[in-house]
Amino acid sequence: MKVIVNGKTMELADSMNLQDLVSVWKVSSEAVVAELNEQVVKKSLWTKTVLSEGDHLELVSLVGGG
């Protein structure tokens, strides 16, 4: 299925959950915030959140700024 992650369209296995997806990359989940279809998904729900075709996912974190 196609999921848009951080603006890029990606081809993912069907019924993948958010935790699995994040684990694919070297992402330290401690600092990362996941926003799925404009809703923030709490970390405790990542394993239960299954992705669907056409989902928009943003993985963001705090960085230095003025």
Partner: protein
Amino acid sequence: MEDRFIIGDKELKSRFLLGTGKFESKEIMQQAIAQSGTEAVTVALRRIDLEETEENILSFIPKGITLMVNTSGARNAKEAIRIARIAREAGYGNWVKVEVINDSRYLLPDNDETIKATEALASEGFVVLPYMHPDLYAAKALVRAGAAAVMPLGSLIGSNQGLKMRTLIEVLIEEIEEVPVIVDAGIGRPSHAAEAMEIGADAVLVNTAVAMAEDPVLMAVAFARGVEAGRMAYLARIGPERATASASSPLTGFLYD
């Protein structure tokens, strides 16, 4: 009478606010925060790099420091509102610096979109600190919209030019009584920060001038002292400028006839 600095729901013991961008390392940023005594810092929200793991900036910001997540990257009110909501839902607090900028050459804020974002976010319970171009009517609109402070630019972000907007900032300080006026952007030296405080600003926000100094930790301390000095001078009531001299000792009793 105590000189207290209150924004929204918090009292801050320091009138020096520090940005966390552009530091050479997170360790240096951490020391600058700690040594300067700042109690509020700005941070930004960005998409992560999926290939690289970044250190968590929060582990370098002491507990007890108030986070102000800025909405940098937002080109309009809608985008600014979204960033603020993500930050709050992620647990980063309800203080937001609204920053709505449409050009990368001057990084000047869009006052109209800033007012719209402020109104929406204030009604959702955020403590909103809008970064703005010092227009008196925009400042009044921001106050009506529920801003917890107004943050007029001193000069262009990162330019170190100081208080190029001094006259208009003085107007805001004089006319905006309901909320603190915090000079943000373009402050390049501790003397600029002291100047802002001497003319009656409630606080200043500095980033580039500290982060890009050869010794950022020392510079952060210098700025904190400049802000304190400027505030004390303001409270002590600075004397007027004169066109002619005024002798320091009597012009009589000289040791000659």
